[in-house]
């Protein structure tokens, strides 16, 4: 169940004042959702259009803000041979667009023990040997809805440059669009994920401050202070709070 309010497009609260600005008249577009024609608002996102048409999404919707990669979509435009890719939540519809969502992608994931591998090209060779089939066609980069340099990080992985793979794949949302377009059948996003974990664990310089704090916590350095605070009455705690110094 969702309340009736849920279905409302525009909430009441943030627009209390009288509107002076005229809302533009709704322009409609035709889109073909999995081949079926629907009339939808021309300024809708693909996800908005699918829901406007009456679908209640199970697959193909997630965070709806471009972070989770649930809504990978492929589409074509009239008179154009190209296959386009995008996230349904952040891509706007175009008139006569023909679209289909990618509900899931059977991407290969290597199983490994993070404590027993090294941040080196050998690890890449062992876990994702298909990386070395890359033909540098750049299709992955063109498919990426985040505009990441996907091919460049795969090339970096071939050289064992873990830091560069980490850096270039940092904003990857694992939507799978690169992998489904790859003629070498590489699962780029999992290679990126592996490199990030290797970098974070083995290559990132360690924080001395953090190590020191952990040692302090181990010997219960703050135990007394905590006990004091836990005993402090609400009234006194308020006073301490409002008088505390700010960095």
């Amino acid at each position: 169940m969702a309340t009736k309010k849920t279905a409302k497009k525009k909430p009441a609260s943030p627009k209390k004042k009288k509107t002076k600005i005229e809302a533009p008249e709704e322009v409609m577009a035709t889109v073909f959702i999995m081949g079926k024609a629907h009339k939808v608002p021309a300024d809708a996102t693909i996800m908005g259009a699918i829901e406007y048409a009456g679908y209640q999404l199970k697959r193909g919707a997630g965070c709806r803000e471009g972070f989770c990669g649930a809504c990978a979509t492929v589409y074509r435009l009239p008179g154009d041979y190209k296959i386009y890719t995008g996230l349904a939540c952040t891509t706007l519809v175009e008139d006569r667009m023909w679209l289909s969502q990618l509900p899931t992608f059977p991407g290969q994931k290597a199983i490994y023990d993070i404590d027993k591998i090294e941040p080196s090209v050998e690890t890449i060779q062992m876990l994702y040997p298909e990386v070395f089939r890359c033909v540098a066609c750049n299709t992955c980069t063109k498919a990426c809805p985040q505009d990441l340099e996907v091919m460049d990080y795969i090339q970096a992985a071939m050289r064992g440059d873990i830091e560069m793979v980490m850096d270039l794949s940092f904003d990857c949302i694992c939507c799978g669009l690169c992998a489904i377009r790859c003629p070498a059948e590489i699962v780029q996003y999992n290679v990126g994920l592996l490199a990030k974990r290797l970098y974070g664990k083995y290559l990132s310089p360690k924080s001395k401050e953090l190590e020191k704090r952990i040692r302090e916590m181990k010997r219960d350095k703050y135990d007394k202070e905590y006990q004091e605070l836990l005993k402090t009455k609400k009234k006194d705690l308020k006073k301490i709070y409002y008088e505390r110094d700010l960095e």
Binding site: P11, S13, G54, T104, D113, K208, E209, M217
Partner: protein, 555 residues
């Protein structure tokens, strides 16, 4: 691109920027923080929670007679999807040590800790593994790691931000485990923002007295959760993942222990039963209830499912009268209305400004205070900026950040935010964003203690679904910390419990009893919960649908 009529206001923002920059650079206060009275005043007058109609008394269940958020009361006072008659509980379809309900941060952290102790688990998740608000947190995670910031300062900030209503032992657990969580995550492979010498980058958040916000650019949640998910997928023998298979009711045994749940396969529309020695609720929050008609920053699946299941089984809720509105939800363009604009923007020096380009509030008040101040500026003082669709908002000046930290800083630290706006022709290194409070977080939840236990033996809760950690207002960066701290604690304590627990005869009697209580209280409703999926179907389409006669769609 902003419409032409906003150019005058935008011009004022540009004009005042140099002066604001000089002041911010000088280190002098840019605006005085509110004292206790001022905070109370603005909350009373403008926070949506403080409106009489925002709360309604719940008539049945463990919190009977309490005033709760109206939409929550509606959800609690509703029918189950099932009755006990439908099930033969003598031969469950799945058996495991720990049933983890929810595949977000808390559930994943718990599964990893349990696995490390040789304890098996099933993660039941309504959508995909990792489909959760945890994935969407942008700005960071608080952890007291610098020499000038003992964890007790963190304790004080959190408890003051929560209006001193937090359960102190939970705040102690939260802040005390912080540094260890930071290290644990790094050892799993999380890439924290750091200086070249390894010093962790720390920034301010709303209501913090020390800089203690750790981050992974503005993909903090995504980096952390994907690391946890990858680790989980490295252990398929011990951790079973059931996707698109939400739990829709808990199972109890004849001794009143929690003993698993009833699964619903969203796609084949079948039910299955799971018997477990311990059960964890990690279902997150309820932003998709669109409380008081607000847009939300939340994930599609945030429909408060765990809350209602636990309530029907007899779990006590805490502070379910308190809702968090994030001060900076986007209001323009319309396509991204309600989307989260990370508080890290203000942590890095971004300023909220009214239509005249003036700063009107200290940029880093606790969220409830900051949000209320924004609402006051727009609705009472009429100093907001109206959008073409009739919304109203205030400016969040991001170009100032580049002036403060140097060119390229936004691209490096806020790639997600930059991406979000450039799609619509707004370059946030050059122009401000238009914002208004958006429904963000469930401050309360199922009451837990520091071992994440509830009043039902064998039922553990962690993350946003739990209540008490944040009192009546959570600070930025404490939710990411929360799901790690208490997710790990569930992993530990539920494992201990599971190794000793002896489960008796399984039962769904509590579901029938709840149904009877509804009837006895003469509550007539068509509502069914858990809600599982929100719907955004236009009314005219909805009328023609097969499920049109239901409240909701029953999928």
């Amino acid at each position: 691109m902003y419409p032409e009529y906003m150019s005058e206001s935008l011009e004022k923002v540009t004009q005042s920027r140099n002066k604001r920059f000089e002041l911010a650079k000088s280190g002098k206060p840019i605006y005085p923080p509110m004292n206790a009275e001022e905070r109370e005043d603005v909350l009373n007058k403008f926070h949506p929670d403080y409106k009489v109609e925002s709360r309604r008394k719940v008539r049945i269940g463990p919190n009977k007679g309490e005033l709760l958020t109206t939409e929550v009361t509606d959800m609690l006072e509703s029918h189950s999807r099932i009755t006990s008659k439908l099930f033969d509980l003598t031969s469950p379809d799945y058996e495991t040590d720990i049933l983890i309900i929810g595949g977000g941060g808390a559930g994943c952290a718990a599964a990893i800790i349990a696995q490390q102790q040789g304890v098996k688990s099933i993660i039941s998740t309504k959508l995909r593994l990792g489909d959760a608000n945890s994935m969407m947190s942008q700005g960071g995670m608080q952890a007291a790691v610098t020499p000038q910031d003992p964890p007790t300062k963190h304790y004080l900030d959190a408890i003051g931000g929560g209006h001193f209503d937090n359960k102190p032992e939970l705040v102690r657990a939260l802040t005390e485990d912080g540094p260890d969580v930071a290290k644990w995550l790094e050892e799993l492979g999380v890439v924290w923002d750091k200086a070249d010498d390894g010093t962790l980058q720390v920034l301010h958040g709303g209501g913090t007295s020390r800089k203690r916000m750790l981050s992974c650019r503005d993909y903090t949640g995504a980096i952390i959760l994907r690391t946890l998910m990858d680790e989980i997928r490295n252990h398929p023998e011990e951790i079973t993942i059931l996707e698109f298979m939400p739990i829709i009711e808990l199972l109890l045994d004849h001794k009143g222990q929690c003993a698993g749940g009833v699964l619903y396969n969203l796609e084949t529309e079948e039910y299955f039963t799971v018997k477990a020695k311990a059960t964890m609720i990690a279902t997150g929050g309820y932003g998709r209830l669109h409380i008081r008609g607000f847009d939300t920053t939340n994930h599609y699946g945030a429909t408060g499912d765990g809350l209602v299941m636990a309530y029907k089984a007899g779990a006590k809720l805490m502070y379910m009268d308190s809702v968090q509105y994030h001060p900076t939800g986007s209001v323009f363009p319309e396509q991204i209305a309600g989307f989260l604009i990370t508080e890290k923007i203000r942590g890095a020096g971004g300023q909220p400004l009214n239509k005249d380009g003036e700063i009107f509030v200290f940029p880093r008040e606790p969220r409830d205070v900051e949000s209320s101040a924004f609402i006051r500026e727009c609705l009472e003082r009429n100093n907001g900026i109206q959008t073409p669709s009739g919304r109203v908002g205030i400016w969040l000046d991001s170009p100032l950040i580049e002036m403060l930290h140097g060119e390229g800083y936004i691209n490096k630290q806020f790639p997600a935010m930059h991406r979000q706006f450039i799609r619509y022709g707004i370059d946030i290194t050059q122009e401000p964003m238009l914002v208004y409070p958006s429904l963000h977080y469930q401050n309360g939840g199922i009451e837990i203690n520091e071992k994440t236990e509830t009043n039902i033996p064998g039922l553990f809760v962690a993350g946003e679904a739990s209540g008490g950690v944040h009192g009546r207002n959570r600070l930025m960066g404490n939710s990411v910390l929360d799901y790690n701290v208490f997710g790990r604690r569930t992993g530990k304590y539920a494992s201990e419990y599971a190794t000793k627990a002896k489960i008796g005869t399984l039962s769904l009697e509590h579901v029938d009893k709840y149904e009877k209580a509804l009837k006895d209280a003469r509550i007539k409703t068509k509502r069914v919960s858990p809600i599982l999926l929100p719907y955004y179907t236009p009314e005219d389409v909805r009328k023609r649908q097969l499920t049109a006669c239901y409240e909701g769609t029953l999928r």
